[in-house]
Subunit: 260 residues, 2 copies
DNA sequence: CGAATACTTGAAATAAATCAAATAAGGTGG
DNA sequence: CCACCTTATTTGATTTATTTCAAGTATTCG
């Protein structure tokens, strides 16, 4: 995964378990440690579990107990697939690709552990984008019907869902500001700073990380061409702001990048 | 308002009332016809009322009974204002403007009757954009705390809110495809077709309408400069696809525009 | 190891931005 | 209701950031 040392592992769970390892019950299998599923999860603070008391966790665990491994390049879902479940990424990473009637495709997001997949499908009953694993990944499967029931019974879950939606809208709105008015250089700088921050929030190293996506993916996400991404990386490196070695990135001057 | 003849007026409510007139109870005043508030509202099909039975409407009306007039150019809310309420636009139109730390501003959306304002504020507790009236407008005020209570008591309201959020995310996603990859010509064509469709959905004339926003607003929304908007309008007119007379627009070749 | 995919870099082409100036529309106060 | 000032729009000429085209290098994967 990104970076080397998950910080959360140290701070939240002193040596008991690797919090970012894939969950240990498999889809269809009888779960062996179901009770530990959410309570020991390193992503708990980012997920619905964050708004529940210890006594309410078992209920959540019943809903979250199923999960799925997705291999690199495989699809978790595709545009038009019938919607049943939301997903929370437990480990690995994804890109979401929004299509247009004509061939035009656009990488609409990169998903990191703790983030949700499938929010756009609730309104129409079918997924509005492709979700493609950028590396071998694991997702929690959340039956949306069950989640709505849980929302009904536990207010804080409802509230959490609303906040998740709302934050997604704010994130999109920020991305639109970027796409609509910024120079290529600012887009790339903004991408790096933002990506680094998200890694940090999730307990990964923020200074040094691997980009699992291609330059073309990044370009699509930022509304520029892959060559422009590459050139801008090189320029930043020449200025001593970062080091680029293929997919391996090291950020030297976060503050300078943030102000470009 | 946009166009001349609200179609919904004819189809939904045979001559009893002007469905797009401002609501008749004022903020702070004792409402005189509170019971009629939602049940007679022309936007009912677009709003939370759509998922309630007649017997449940009074409860909704208690929450929706307050409303507010906003004059052209006035702010309904500003970035950073403390969040208490969502708003549903009843008549008129708005633009929402998302700011960036530096001066950079971006028109993030145009809001038409029946659409919600303030969804981005739920997650953080403060509004994430400015909402500015493009003409004298009226909004229903929805206390979010009350709405969450209603969600708790009536499942279909919860479901409606989730769908509203989700659709907003899909809309944003479409806009990002547009902003990230399309030529200026396609952006403008797409804007016209989309705007026309939204007017139609709300019962206004789709072929002939007034743009309440400036060319600069449109440009900001589409990620291009105002001069480019103007030039593209002129080009479309020369090609016989539309007529432009300042803010007055007439669409001749909807299909051709949709395929640009 | 070899083919396919991904990345970098340079040179030329181009879509859109910027600069500029003239015209039109809107709002305000007398 | 007019005259005046401001704001908005159109259109042309020029500049520029980014794309496109191209070619070479590096990396990944079976």
């Amino acid at each position: 995964m990104y970076g080397s040392t998950p910080i959360l592992e140290r701070s939240h769970s002193p040596g008991t378990t690797n919090l970012f390892a894939p969950p240990y019950t498999r889809l269809g299998e009888a779960p062996t440690h179901r009770s530990a599923n959410c309570s020991l999860c390193g992503l708990r603070a980012l997920c619905f579990a964050s708004c529940l008391g210890e006594d309410e966790l078992p209920r959540l665990e019943r809903i979250f107990s199923q999960w799925r491994m997705i291999h690199r390049r495989d699809y978790l879902f595709r545009v038009g697939d019938k919607f049943h479940s939301l997903y929370i990424l437990r480990s690995g990473s994804f890109k979401t690709v929004a299509g247009h009637e004509d061939g035009l495709e656009h990488v609409s997001d990169f998903i990191l552990p703790g983030e949700a997949l499938g929010l756009g499908a609730i309104g129409s009953g079918q997924y509005d984008c492709d979700a493609i694993a950028l590396e071998d990944s694991a997702v929690c499967i959340i039956s949306f019907a069950s989640l709505e029931s849980l929302c009904h019974d536990i207010r804080s879950v409802q509230h959490h869902l609303n906040r998740t939606f709302s934050r997604e809208i704010v994130r999109n709105s920020r991305q639109m500001v970027l796409l609509s008015g910024m120079t290529a250089e600012r887009r790339v700088a903004s991408f790096l700073v933002d990506f680094s921050r998200r890694l940090l929030e999730r307990g990964y190293a923020a200074r040094s990380f691997t980009l699992r996506m291609t330059r073309e993916d990044i370009g699509s996400y930022l509304g520029i061409k892959l060559e422009t991404v590459s050139r801008t990386f090189s320029r930043f490196q020449r200025k001593g702001l970062m080091r680029v070695d293929g997919k391996q990135i090291e950020i030297f001057e976060r503050e300078v990048l943030a102000q470009i």
